[in-house]
């Protein structure tokens, strides 16, 4: 009897599961061109430069990434001013920033997602495309004149192409930057440079000389001890080196394939000649005791501790880490110490700026397509996220209240409004009290806008980086669902092996004479099949869409 009932339970459970998965995957595609039923609230003559205002009050649900530094408030000027300018009410579904991605997956999977899903990074989109829950926004670009204009004016077409899926469409409205914005580099103790009469290193080779000079003066220290090694060993350092050597990325931005413009083919990043060279460079640093071998495994706190106690002088950095971590740390232990972020050292790839001009952006639920307000919603999105006026509003707020403009049109904060300490002691805060400069609504745009709240030091860094050539994005190679599934089975063993060998070569546990053996090991882990799939997808896309 027990066994029979057991089976009943199992059957019931299976039936429940099946029902649940049916609910999750309801899918219907409306004809994408006929929008006559969906124009309620939309403007007839919406174009570049026009202020979007819905012809009747409308509201859209939006997934809201709740930042603890400026928790969501319903009385923000942002909401009321948005309502009066556009006649749109946004209904936020608040999700803690700590676990935003998980909740997003859950809501999309359960068919319960809000209409607007912002703060999504380009690679995250793949997972949702085949479910049909996400709108192929590329079909509706005609509703978004500002977006189209910016793509054209800023030559963003190659970047946008990298977003395309196998059907040739893209499903994400990314944040667009006119200029690439690169943040990560190395921070160097400038007082030590002065003391030893050294110049700030411009290239990786100069960095080597500088480290050697530091080692000569301080034989007991490892001059370079890096952080950001968990969970990926030397996550930041490997990536900086990889892009400087002309590869797509490594470390925490692990890219299996890199584009070779010479052969017009993708190569396996971890097996390229450049990757070998960068490992040889690292190996040289380790062998001469210039780079702390623990750099590859230690925690961030351990690396910071070494820097604070002058056990190291060079460390991976971004603008925030320098100001929030390193300077306060050093101020407590060594008030004379000075540290600054240096422009990304130049490698064999030349003076490039490796940052992408696309940022996280917005997905739209497919169910929005059936709404009678669909056209109004797309116009609204275009205005708030892509028009000059909308971007200025989201970042700076309301002229005369939160900011003022001088004759040249340069914006500054109003005297009683603070933001990142620009008006210390001001009673109000741009983010906390008004809801502007909010990461959900304000990103991308012209450099003036992006760098509005950067420190002079960081603006200087950006000037150097902006003078360099932006790295051209690789051509798109959208994979089909089956290919993606197959490829993802190969990825983990390949990646693990590259990591393992990276550490062995860099730390000198494996001789570079064994490089060919290592490449063969990768081949035995389906590297060639992987490349074959990617290159075929690239050719297929090229032939179909060019």
């Amino acid at each position: 009897m027990f066994r029979r009932s057991w089976r009943h339970v199992a059957t019931a459970a299976a039936a429940l599961l099946a029902a649940a998965s049916l609910v999750a995957c309801s899918d219907d595609s409306a004809d994408s061109q006929d929008l006559s039923e969906n124009r309620v609230g939309a403007m007839e003559n919406y174009a570049i430069g026009s202020q979007f205002k819905a012809t009747e009050p409308v509201s859209f649900s939006v997934l809201y990434n709740n930042h603890p530094n400026y928790p969501l408030k319903n009385d923000w000027l942002f909401w009321s001013e948005l309502k009066s300018r556009t006649n749109v009410t946004l209904e936020p579904v608040a999700v803690p920033l700590s676990d935003y991605n998980q909740k997003r997956s859950l809501l999309i999977g359960a068919g319960d997602a809000p209409l607007l899903i912002p703060k999504t990074y380009p690679p995250d989109v793949h997972a949702y495309v085949s479910s049909g829950a996400i709108l192929p926004v590329s079909d509706y670009l005609d509703l978004m004149p500002n977006l189209k204009d910016k793509i054209e004016k800023w030559n963003l077409k190659p970047e946008m192409d990298t977003l395309r899926q196998q059907d040739g469409k893209f499903y994400l409205l990314p944040g667009l930057h006119e200029k690439p914005w690169h943040d990560y580099s190395l921070a160097v103790r400038t007082d030590i440079l002065e003391e030893l009469n050294l110049a700030v290193p411009k290239t990786w080779d100069e960095l080597y000389t500088v480290l050697k000079a530091m080692k000569a003066a301080y034989p007991d220290v490892y001059p370079f001890s890096d952080r950001w090694s968990q969970p990926n060993p030397a996550g930041n350092l490997l990536n900086l080196l990889a892009v400087s050597y002309g590869l797509e990325g490594a470390g925490w931005n692990f890219q299996h394939v890199s584009w070779n413009a010479g052969t017009q083919k993708f190569e396996y990043t971890g097996a390229t000649e450049q990757y070998k060279q960068l490992l040889q460079y690292l190996n040289k640093l380790v062998a001469e005791k210039l780079l702390d071998p623990e750099s590859f495994t230690q925690t961030d706190d351990a690396a910071r501790q070494k820097l604070a106690n002058s056990k190291s002088f060079v460390i991976g950095a971004n603008a925030q880490a320098v100001v929030n971590d390193y300077r306060p740390d050093l101020a407590a232990t060594n008030p004379k110490a000075k540290i600054a972020k240096i422009p990304l050292p130049i490698g064999p790839a030349g003076e490039i700026n490796p940052a992408s001009r696309l940022e996280n952006g917005m997905m739209i639920s497919s169910k929005a397509r059936d709404s009678k307000n669909f056209v109004a919603m797309m116009q609204f999105v275009d205005w708030l996220w892509y028009s000059d006026a909308g971007q200025e509003f989201a970042r700076w707020g309301v002229e005369g209240t939160t900011f003022v403009k001088d004759a040249a049109g340069k914006a500054t904060l109003a005297a009683d409004v603070d933001m990142i300490g620009l008006n210390p002691g001001a009673p109000k805060h741009l983010q906390k009290d008004f809801g502007f400069a909010n990461g959900v609504f304000a990103y991308g745009g012209k450099p003036e806008l992006v760098q509005a709240f950067f420190s002079p030091e960081e603006q200087e860094f950006q000037q150097v980086m902006n003078a360099r050539t932006p790295k051209s994005p690789p051509p798109p190679f959208p994979l089909s669902d089956e290919e993606r599934e197959q490829v993802s089975l190969w990825e983990t063993p390949l990646k693990d092996h590259v990591y393992q060998a990276t550490l062995q070569f860099a730390l000198g546990q494996r001789d570079f004479g064994q490089w060919d053996a290592y490449v063969n090991e990768l081949k035995s882990k389906n590297m060639d099949a992987y490349l074959d799939t990617v290159n075929k997808a690239y050719e297929r896309y090229r032939d179909e869409h060019n």
Binding site: S5, L17, A332
Partner: protein, 311 residues
């Protein structure tokens, strides 16, 4: 309670006399010294991390990063406490945690007790199936999305019931409690029945008074679990004023470590010292449980042991 108390004198009565005799011998004194030393070491080892956390929570970030904080705070500051405690959302969320914990614990105790008591009756028909249904959920679950769809379509979203109901019965706790009830002599209940008590009367007047130990243990288990839980709240609550304090603090730490403001500089008064923040979080969330623990503890060992021996 009466019978439990009655059983104890029989165990402990002969001891005082014997102990006085042994105390004279030298070996026993050596043993006592060694014992005291070992126990002191155990106390230090278990207490040190906690004192360290408290010290960190009141120290300046730089000293923590430099690895200089041990038992005493260095660069004493209460700024992080002030920052966390001055936020009205923190208090709203703290109140939510208390409400959720109390509600969910009460529901869980009632449900678990009723289920376990029924399962402890050997004469119950289909007992194996009922146990099987419970045990099945220990090894298989519907998965995240089906659970979410179920809870949402039952209309529980954005209410305390989404936290309390889906997790009301913990199967491990259920089995421990069942084993405990099985160990109670059936004759007591029979006697109650002869004297005219109904089934619920027997449970309420005879079984539960004898089960204070296990109920207290279960209250502790459930309360700690609900106090610490954040995942259900994160899944089912869409408004920040409904979140428990665990979600609030988790988010706060993520905000302090995250790279949202890259390129911008955080305000000096707001450099949320990440290391300090973690310590403050731990202190604030564990404090209430720590305060409750000593009062429940005397039941705790007895409760779980009684179930374990039989189970």
């Amino acid at each position: 309670m009466v019978s439990v108390e009655a059983a104890r004198p029989a165990e402990t009565a002969p001891r005082p006399g014997r102990r006085r005799g042994i105390q004279q011998t030298r070996g026993y004194r050596v043993f006592q010294v060694v014992n005291a030393v070992i126990l002191t070491i155990v106390v230090v080892v278990t207490l040190y991390p906690f004192v360290n956390i408290v010290a960190r929570s009141m120290s300046h970030e730089a000293y923590i990063i430099a690895g200089q904080v041990n038992l005493v705070p260095r660069g004493f500051t209460l700024d992080t406490y002030r920052l966390v405690l001055s936020d009205s959302l923190f208090w709203t969320n703290y109140r939510n945690t208390v409400v959720y914990t109390v509600t969910a614990t009460v529901i869980s105790i009632v449900m678990t007790t009723c289920y376990a008591y029924v399962l402890s009756k050997k004469q119950l028909k289909g007992r194996g199936v009922l146990v099987g249904i419970a045990v099945f959920t220990m090894f298989f679950s519907g998965g995240l999305i089906p659970n979410y769809v179920l809870v949402t379509s039952l209309g529980l979203k954005n209410s305390v019931w989404a936290i309390a109901l889906p997790n009301a019965i913990n199967v491990f706790n259920l089995l421990v409690m069942k084993a405990f009830f099985e160990s109670l002599p059936g004759e007591l209940e029979e006697a109650g029945a002869v004297d005219g008590l109904s089934t619920y009367g027997i449970l309420w007047r005879i079984v539960l008074p004898l089960s204070k130990a296990i109920v207290a243990t279960m209250v502790l288990f459930y309360a700690v679990a609900f106090w610490n839980s954040w995942f259900a709240a994160f899944l089912y609550l869409d408004r920040q004023e409904l979140w428990p304090v665990t979600v609030y603090l988790r988010n706060l730490i993520a905000g302090a470590t995250g790279a949202e403001n890259v390129g911008a500089i955080a305000e000096a008064n707001e450099v949320q010292a990440e290391a300090t923040l973690k310590a403050v979080t731990i202190v604030l969330t564990t404090l209430p449980i720590l305060l409750v623990y000593p009062f429940v503890q005397r039941y705790f060992v007895r409760g779980i042991m009684l179930g374990a021996v039989k189970g």
